[in-house]
């Protein structure tokens, strides 16, 4: 297996793909947004229970490749308990990692996604769940990665 490919499919990603965390509908959710990737059919719904400005609980549901599923799973573990400003900051870091391959300063599982930058077509997979989460925080219902090219 090539170095690029083993960077892409790191243990952390395989683990989240096989045993996704916080997967399924959140019965107590007061926000939900749905993201989809029309060119490949990946789908991800993110459920939030916002307590004021704080993400009190979060889950995701959907289908897609290992990268999209693992990213959404890891994201839920990172966002739980965060304020919307903290969540936006985390997304900024994540986005930089997947687009540039630059590893984060603090040690974090997010670093596992640095390998994505070598596969430009997969950046959309890695950010799908995050887009849906940000949209849910804003109170929007649906996003598609085609209109969220950033």
């Amino acid at each position: 297996m090539s170095a690029d490919l083993s960077e892409l499919y790191q243990q952390v990603i395989l683990d989240h793909n096989k045993r996704p965390r916080n997967r399924g509908k959140l019965p107590t959710a007061n926000r939900v947004a749905h993201g989809d990737n029309p060119s490949c059919g990946d789908q991800c719904s993110v459920y939030l229970r916002m307590d004021g400005d704080k993400i009190a609980d979060i889950s995701f549901d959907g289908s897609g490749c290992a990268i999209s599923q693992a990213s959404a799973s890891l994201m839920t573990t990172l966002l739980k308990g965060k304020s919307s400003a903290e969540a936006a900051e985390l997304y900024k870091n994540f986005h930089e990692i997947v687009t540039t391959g630059k590893e984060p300063e603090e040690i974090s599982d997010i670093a596992a996604f640095a390998g994505v930058h070598a596969f430009p077509a997969r950046i959309k997979c890695a950010t799908l769940g995050w887009h849906a989460a940000i949209e849910a925080m804003k109170g929007g219902p649906n996003i598609t990665t085609e209109s969220h090219i950033d």
Binding site: S2, L5, Y9, S39, G41, G64, C65, F119
Partner: protein
């Protein structure tokens, strides 16, 4: 015995390269096929020697370009056995051809209460144009179902008679499914439709370069196809339409080249094909398409069909041995086109495709512009390997070995 042509791979310059350090194994032919050198050369030859606008000029180059363009139309007409070159309209491809029929024939012939009959296996390009004209005219869509959890039964022909009610005005269906490899009995479908006075539209995107396609033997009213899937270049395709129907249809777009007389407030148009080719046509690519027709006929389209089928059968047999695989479309012993489409319970198609690319193998993963069908089958997508004249049995072994590695990696 596998049908092979000596040196056919030498005709395709793109095949002779390495991808990620491995010899390219190009198995994404249903998306677009590679081009033989004669076609690439025809295009540069045209631009280097004959290029000028067609039908307009009185100078030598313009005459040469016009002859080449109309010569290509005659070749395409012969390629599908049309009765008359005027029955061939050059378009951007299958999608534009179907949009042309839906918009032009549809606006003149459909009204509220009419039914447009489609099948559940249509590509979005033979579905969305009909949704659009249905919205504008008030016509309704109806679908011929597919049979079996993996579409192994093809179209439900027993249900067809009940669906061909008097409200049905047009029946549009694919010749070959791009996501299952099903070959539909097009002549039979057309005969049934015709006996009810229903106009037929065939999406031949996946059949045109792969098997003999004879519009008169099939008995269709319209047939749409793309050049790029049949060894031609991108940006050109054609619509075959029966003369009588074309002559009664309004223009699709307005502009130069399609009029006989223009006043400030009115215009009259030329007959087909000019009526449907507003503006400067894509003549250079059309000329290259004519050369692609010659190239394929040189190989022999029944031989191409046999070669594709043998590869698909071999691939199906070998893939069937992989753990947890779900194969779509006709089973062994049934007719199938030159593609195999499959999924794994635990490994997503995009991961499969990414791992294949590491071994230089080009596959397609996703819904193949077939979302309603995928949803019906409970799938978000499949992985597809599709074959053409230059593919070999050895390449199928490379594919199967790669898939085994991928499955092992994901612990599936």
């Amino acid at each position: 015995m596998m049908t092979t042509w000596t040196n056919v791979r030498h005709d395709f310059p793109i095949l002779h390269q390495q991808v990620k350090g491995k010899p390219l194994v190009y198995l994404d032919n249903a998306a677009t096929a590679q081009k033989p050198k004669v076609v690439i050369d025809a295009l540069s030859h045209f631009y280097e020697r004959d290029n000028a606008n067609v039908h307009r000029g009185l100078h030598t180059l313009s005459n040469r370009a016009t002859d080449a363009y109309e010569g290509a139309r005659a070749k395409v007409a012969r390629f599908v056995n049309a009765a008359d070159s005027a029955e061939i309209i050059f378009t951007r491809g299958t999608t534009e051809s179907i949009n042309l029929v839906a918009a032009s024939w549809g606006s003149a012939n459909l009204k509220a209460g009419d039914v447009i009959l489609l099948t559940e296996m249509e590509h979005h390009s033979n579905l969305v144009p009909w949704q659009l004209i249905a919205q504008r005219t008030g016509a309704k869509l109806r679908y011929v179902p597919v049979l079996g959890p993996n579409v192994e039964g093809g179209l439900d022909l027993a249900a067809l008679d009940g669906l061909l009610t008097p409200e049905v005005k047009v029946f549009a269906f694919t010749h070959v499914s791009n996501s299952t490899g099903t070959i539909n009995p097009v002549a039979e479908l057309c005969a049934k439709a015709r006996s009810h006075g229903i106009v037929t539209v065939i999406d031949a995107a996946q059949s045109i370069g792969h098997m003999p396609v004879d519009v008169r033997a099939i008995g269709c009213d319209f047939l749409a196809f793309s050049g790029h899937k049949m060894a031609g270049v991108t940006g050109i395709g054609a619509l075959y339409g029966r003369r009588e129907l074309l002559d009664a249809m309004p223009p699709y777009q307005g502009g130069g080249g399609m009029i006989s007389q223009v006043e400030f407030f009115t215009a009259r148009w030329k007959p087909s094909p000019e009526r449907f080719e507003a503006g400067t046509p894509n003549f250079a690519d059309a000329v290259a398409l004519g050369v692609a027709c010659d190239y394929l006929d040189g190989l022999g389209r029944d031989k191409i069909a046999a070669h594709d089928h043998q590869l698909a059968k071999l691939a199906y047999e070998k893939l069937a041995t992989l753990p947890g695989i779900r194969l779509l479309g006709p089973g062994l012993g049934q007719e199938r086109s030159g593609l195999v489409s499959f999924s794994f319970a635990d490994v997503h198609a995009h991961d499969v495709v990414t791992f294949a690319d590491e071994d230089g193998i080009a596959l397609r993963g996703g819904h193949h512009c077939n979302q309603p069908l995928m949803r019906k089958l409970g799938l978000t997508g499949t992985t597809r390997a599709s074959f053409y004249v230059y593919n070999t049995a050895e390449e199928i072994d490379v594919l199967v070995a790669n898939l085994r590695k991928t499955l092992k990696f994901f612990g599936a």
